[in-house]
């Protein structure tokens, strides 16, 4: 599988970090949910945190840089909402800078590789070059 950020993964590999982690697997996940800003097509919605601000992550180790190159998704709407509300409680309402809506769609095997889900149904996703989330995530509603 060819990844969207293949060049960055190569650089991490040179530093001894295997990215995406070997345990990540391609699979079909439907439904899948993600926080997004309105409208759903906003390019930053589908850009990893690392690629929004690469320099911000420069001093971090390879593991953190690799994680920051992934997108966060949830396999349940409830898990997606819960995480948002939990962070709002702890950090404040400005977490809405990261998302105001929940996009619902699906992830296909060809779209990339995924971590195991945690107890809140969250998983990390490293994007393949073929992934087209705007095509696969058509609906969004206010969190």
């Amino acid at each position: 599988m060819e990844f969207k950020y293949q060049e960055d993964y190569k650089l991490l590999m040179e530093k001894g970090e295997i990215c995406p982690p070997a345990t990540y697997k391609p699979k079909n996940i439907s439904p899948a949910y993600r926080w997004v800003l309105d409208p759903i097509e906003t390019p930053s919605n589908w850009l990893s945190q690392y690629h929004k601000d690469p320099i911000r992550f420069a001093p971090k180790n390879g593991l953190i840089q690799c994680e920051a190159m992934a997108l966060s998704f949830f396999s349940t709407e409830n898990g997606c909402k819960l995480r948002f509300n939990e962070l709002k409680k702890l950090i404040g309402v400005k977490v809405s800078n990261m998302g105001t809506h929940i996009a619902e769609g699906q992830i296909f095997e060809k779209d990339g590789v995924n971590s195991e889900e945690d107890e809140n149904s969250h998983f990390n996703h490293h994007s393949a070059i073929e992934a087209n989330y705007i095509q696969n995530f058509l609906r969004a509603k206010l969190i």
Binding site: S72, R83, L90, E119
Partner: protein, 181 residues
């Protein structure tokens, strides 16, 4: 970004080093640093806001005991944030330069930057680093208690109380500096 009502300061002169991220969601939201000049001194960097240029962080000075009480769910993140009269904020550029250091009186902290009154530690919302850090703090505290009882040295500045008069368990310990007793 919200315009803060406070006094601008010069550069950040804190002599600290990064320990890890306590809350993380596609980037750090609450990080902890240690004071190089004070082995019991810590700083929390709490993410507050961002725009195209900056990420804004609140800098909260916290003691070992305050952290212990936070991790034991005795006090909330909101209480930690508002325990002092003033809070420092810093805007950090995408190239990690700290700009716009400002000190704000707690009455003027924007509501949008404020955690809720129920902002207690819980393992689900925090990172695995946070949980191992909590255990490390607890282990340090237990060692101090043991030293206090072995040596009777009041300078250890630690005592413990049984929570709710129940059987002593690590998670129910509560710590206060002796000077506060």
């Amino acid at each position: 970004m919200i315009t803060l009502d406070g006094d601008k300061l010069g550069v950040n002169t804190l002599n600290i080093y990064y320990l890890g991220d306590l809350i993380y969601y596609e980037g750090p939201l609450l990080s902890i640093y240690k004071d190089r000049n004070n082995p019991k001194g810590y700083y929390l960097y709490k993410w507050c806001d961002n725009d195209n240029e900056y990420h804004r962080w609140a800098i909260l000075k916290v003691s070992f005991y305050e952290l212990m009480n936070f991790f034991n769910e005795k006090i909330s993140l909101k209480s930690l944030m508002f325990k002092d009269q003033f809070i420092y904020f810093v805007d950090v550029t995408n190239s990690i330069e700290e700009k716009n250091m400002i000190i704000v009186s707690k009455e003027n902290i924007p509501e949008d930057y404020t955690p809720s009154k129920n902002s207690f530690y819980n393992t689900n919302a925090f990172t695995t680093f946070a949980e191992s850090f909590r255990k490390e703090l607890q282990s340090t505290a237990i060692t101090s208690i043991e030293q206090f009882y072995r040596t009777g040295d009041p300078n250890k500045h630690i005592r413990f109380v049984r929570a709710n008069n129940e059987e002593l368990e690590q998670n129910n310990l509560s710590y206060e500096p002796i000077s506060n007793i």
